[in-house]
């Protein structure tokens, strides 16, 4: 599985934020690559730059210096429109607070990215959505709106939405932060199971449970990678 080109490759990436005249460095000279099939966690305390790193990889922000390659595309050289397309086709997003579209039901939320892609017909879309509803275990809630679902169920919908386009990598920003430990564990079980089935995951978290499940942990302190490539804890079943 870990073959060919990496899905994500960061080389000497720095990111500065400008707060008025003060320049706040969020990331400093980070280099990192993610191979297909990884189940990687970016860990670190608040303000260490986890989310910034995830945003750069998620193509919702661009680096101040250095290069970010996502699926071999240099995100610094793409237009906003192209970045959006890249997100749509190659990336899946799971948010801390689920971020479902409130007026759409579970099915419609999951189907939404496919509608944006406009590449699949109705029947294919339906098959994919139903398949995912099954896989994340919420088939019976297909026509419930997010307001009618529990946190765990919502996150399952969000996971299904992230997977529906069959992205190269799923980025999950603190996916368990808003869930109780029991539900969080169940969600992690689900993601691990999906990872075994071939989906690459990249988390940002400071939740030790997530870290303990990671195949690989990238520790960030003050915008720098503290123990580069020093993988700790149990790995996922990647080789």
């Amino acid at each position: 599985m870990a073959s060919g080109k990496p899905i994500v490759a960061l080389t000497g990436v720095s990111k500065d934020y400008h707060l008025g005249k003060v320049v706040v460095p969020a990331l400093r000279n980070v280099s990192l690559s993610i191979e297909p099939g990884e189940f990687t966690v970016i860990a670190g305390p608040s303000g260490s730059g986890k989310t910034t790193l995830l945003n750069l990889i998620g193509c919702v922000d661009v680096a101040s210096r250095g290069t970010v390659l996502v699926d071999s595309h240099d995100t610094g050289k793409l237009s906003e429109k192209q970045l959006t397309r890249l997100r749509l086709d190659k990336l899946g997003f799971i948010f801390q607070s689920f971020n479902l579209v409130g007026v759409l039901d579970a099915y419609q939320n999951i189907e939404f990215p496919l509608l944006l892609q406009k590449s699949l017909g109705k029947a294919e879309r339906d098959k994919r959505v139903r398949d995912l509803l099954d896989r994340v275990g919420i088939a019976q809630y297909a026509h419930h709106r997010p307001g009618e679902l529990s946190g765990g169920q919502r996150q399952r919908v969000a996971i299904a939405r992230a997977l529906v386009t069959q992205p190269r990598i799923v980025l999950a920003d603190e996916p368990t932060a808003n869930l109780d430990s029991h539900t969080g564990t169940a969600i992690l079980d689900l993601m691990q199971e999906l990872n075994r089935a071939g989906t690459t995951f990249l988390f940002s978290t400071h939740d030790p449970r997530v870290v303990s499940r990671a195949g690989r942990v990238v520790r960030l302190i003050d915008g720098e990678i503290a123990d580069h490539d020093a993988t700790v804890g149990e790995r996922s079943d990647i080789s």
Binding site: S46, G47, K50, T51, N55, G58, V60, D61, E80, K81, T84, R85, R87, L88, D89, G92, F93, F95, Q96, S97, N99, L100, V101, G102, V103, L104, Q108, F112, P113, L115, L116, Q117, R161, A162, T165, D173, E174, S204
Partner: protein, 709 residues
């Protein structure tokens, strides 16, 4: 489409807000559709009223006219629209155009009429009685005339009380002196010695004193009556007959005739009857009460006209009806005219049955000759004598004061009255004037004519006018140029006789057409597009160098045509305000919604939605809103218009009768009203979406992760 699904969901999930904004939109649409439908219907009904009664679909007048043509008058008052010298040629050109059914010559002026006067009438009766040797009648009439002289003297005396006679004009003092003479015993004792002289004195000195109060002002339309009647479908004769083709004559508008010419008390009683029929009561209605007051105060309108025999009959009838022993009519009549809800019907009948037969019900009767005074283009006073053939009305507009304001006159008389002369005709007239010797007529001859006996010879002797002489060659028209005194009694009398001859003349169409008119009504053939016709007729006119401009009936009718624009502006203002409020409210609520939805929009952007999709989403929402609530408003408007279409919208007053082309307006909606409304409402909604949509497009995917750190 997912966008509409999201839009609809968004609208339904914010029900209260959607409803608030939506009801504004629905109300706006409702007003818009109603307004457009009413305006559209009004336009059609006004076209019917205006173009089928007087203006025709198009009007042509001098391109270099100083003022704008305003058939129904305008606010400025000045309507110098110049003159069209050669109507015959213009008619030939215009009627050669394939769209034109007829070109009707017109000219509208204001004139005065000395309404038939009670002394005139009585003097005429006296003449008849004298001629027939009927001593009894003569005595009664003489007594009546003397009584009128007495009443006039009383009125004069009142003037004397309020003004210092020493400073009064010589005219006033002369009048008082004349009335004293006519009221003296000596005058009446000597009456039989020289009845002619006595009557001439009464006619020339006394009658004018009563005349002044009877002067009527009215508007008249000079035209070719036969062709007018043929081409204006709303025109119809009510009383009497049409002016015989080619002849001179006058037709009163029925409403004008009733309002201006009818005996005032009788007219007021008629109006009371109409108003009572409309459900008003004396007890509650101010107008009715006011009319009763006026009737009671103006009882002299009746007593003036009653001679002793009639007065006796009326007195007895009133005494019996009122159960009174009062002998003075001056007291009985006000009592009688004090009508109320219980006695009106019987008193109305009694008035018509007992009193009216002794009254001059109309100051000018159908069949009478009437003298119309006017001013020539050059500003000199002129007068013409013309026969009143009848009254007419415009169908379904009989109650409209506007449609009723214009009377009809033949073109020949019109040209005379207005003194339209072309250069060559002026020369002709001078020759005719010398030849006719009108001013040389002897007083004796004139009066011999009045009492019959050799009248024909007198006319023949005094008017050796060749039969092909232009109508304008009336000697009277030379008056402005003639020395002072030519308008004196003798000349007037002679002129009258000359005109009697003119009145019998039948003019050929060529004679009628040859000459001056002021404006031309262009009646189009059925189904012709008005605008296209106007353009192509204007082109024809320009090619033929006629120097005319063509305007449509709206423009031509003056302020009444502007009326539509007034309604348009009122509607536009009201809608403008509503829509601006709607835009502000909608914009506001959508901005709020956008802020609330920042995260949702950010998420959509993060998972791959392009900016344009966000814009489309907002547009979809706006369009859904506009469609749904626009449809609700339009449906409401449709229902109301549908109801009105069946029931009719009643005209609240005379002006609206005219605008509605009848007592009720039956509005209808046409598809383009709906289309315009739909487009406008969508536009308003889109405008209110612009700013929130712009805000939404600026939301970055980063904002989806706001709570991540």
């Amino acid at each position: 489409m997912i966008l509409f699904r999201i839009a609809l969901r968004n609208l339904t999930s914010h029900k209260l807000k959607s409803l608030m904004v939506g009801s504004l939109l629905a109300f706006g649409t409702f007003l818009l559709v109603i307004g457009l439908a009413l305006l559209g219907t009004l336009d059609v009904s006004m076209e019917k009223s205006v173009s089928n009664s007087i203006t025709g679909q198009l009007q042509a007048y001098r391109a270099d006219a100083k003022d704008k043509l305003a058939i129904f008058g305008d606010m400025s008052g000045g309507t110098d629209i110049g003159t069209i010298q050669d109507f015959a040629r213009v008619r030939q050109v215009l009627e050669g155009h394939p769209d034109v059914q007829a070109a009707i010559p017109q000219g509208i002026e204001v004139a005065m009429v000395y309404g038939g006067n009670i002394i005139d009438t009585k003097l005429e009766a006296l003449r008849q009685a004298e001629k027939a040797g009927d001593k009894d009648t003569s005595a009664v009439v003489r007594a009546h005339v003397r009584r009128i002289v007495g009443l006039l003297a009383q009125d004069m005396a009142k003037i004397g009380e309020v003004t210092d006679l020493a400073t009064a004009s010589t005219e006033t003092r002369q009048s008082i002196a004349d009335l004293a003479v006519a009221g003296s015993d000596a005058f009446w004792q000597d009456f039989d010695k020289d009845p002619l002289a006595a009557m001439e004195f009464l006619e020339n000195k006394v009658a004018p004193l009563a005349l002044n109060a009877e002067m009527l002002f009215f508007r008249y339309l000079g035209t070719d009556p036969a062709r007018f009647a043929q081409n204006f479908s709303l025109f119809e004769i009510v009383d009497g007959q049409a002016i015989p083709p080619g002849q001179r004559g006058f037709l009163f508008n029925k409403l004008n005739y009733e309002d201006m010419v009818k005996h005032k008390i009788a007219r007021r009683l008629d109006k009371m009857k109409d108003r009572l029929a409309d459900g008003y009561t004396f007890a509650k209605d101010d107008d009715l009460q006011q009319w009763v007051k006026l009737n009671k105060n103006q009882y002299k309108e009746v007593t003036y006209q009653l001679d002793d025999r009639a007065a006796k009959l009326v007195r007895e009838a009133l005494q019996q009806h009122l159960g009174s022993t009062e002998v003075a009519l001056e007291k009985l009549l006000p009592l009688f005219l004090d009508t109320n809800d219980t006695n009106f019907a019987t008193r109305y009948k009694l008035f018509y049955d007992v009193i009216v037969p002794h009254l001059m019900l109309y100051a000018v009767k159908v069949g009478d000759n009437m003298t119309i005074k006017g001013f020539t283009a050059a500003g000199y006073p002129t007068s013409v004598n013309v026969k009143v053939y009848g009254t007419f009305r415009f169908k379904s507009l009989d109650k409209s004061a506007l449609a009723g304001s214009v009377n009809l006159m033949d073109l020949m008389t019109y040209r005379d009255l207005y003194g339209y002369l072309s250069a060559d005709k002026k020369a002709e007239i001078e020759t005719l004037q010398k030849a006719s010797g009108v001013k040389e007529i002897k007083r004796e001859d004139a009066e011999a004519e009045l009492f019959g006996g050799g009248g024909e010879e007198v006319v023949d002797a005094t008017s050796p006018t060749p039969t092909d002489a232009p109508a304008e060659a009336t000697p009277n028209l030379a008056a402005p140029a003639a020395p002072k005194g030519s308008m004196g009694e003798r000349a007037v009398t002679a002129t009258r006789m000359y005109r009697d001859e003119l009145a019998k003349r039948v003019y050929t169409q060529a004679e009628i057409d040859a000459g001056v008119v002021r404006n031309i009504a262009i009646v189009l053939k059925k189904g012709v597009d008005q605008r296209k016709a106007a353009t192509s007729i204007q082109e024809l006119i320009d090619r033929e160098k006629l120097g005319l401009k063509v305007v449509d009936w709206r423009t031509a009718s003056g302020f009444i045509g502007n009326f539509l624009w007034v309604i348009y502006s009122v509607l536009a203002t009201a809608l403008g305000i509503i829509f601006i409020v709607a835009i502000i409210v909608m914009n506001n609520s959508m901005v709020m919604a956008t802020l609330e939805r920042t995260k949702e929009i950010g998420t959509m952007r993060a998972i791959g939605a392009q900016k344009t999709l966000i814009l489309q989403m907002f547009i979809a929402e706006a369009v859904t809103m506009a469609l749904v609530f626009g449809a609700v408003g339009a449906a409401g408007a449709g229902a109301l218009i549908g109801y009105l279409h069946v029931k009719g919208l009643p005209a609240i007053n005379d002006v609206f009768v005219f605008l509605f082309a009848g007592p009720r307006l039956y509005p209808f909606i046409s598809w383009h009203h709906l289309l315009i409304s739909g487009l406008l409402v969508s536009l308003v909604t889109l405008i209110s979406t612009l700013y929130p949509a712009w805000l939404a497009m600026r939301v970055t995917p980063l904002q989806a992760m706001q709570d991540a750190e």
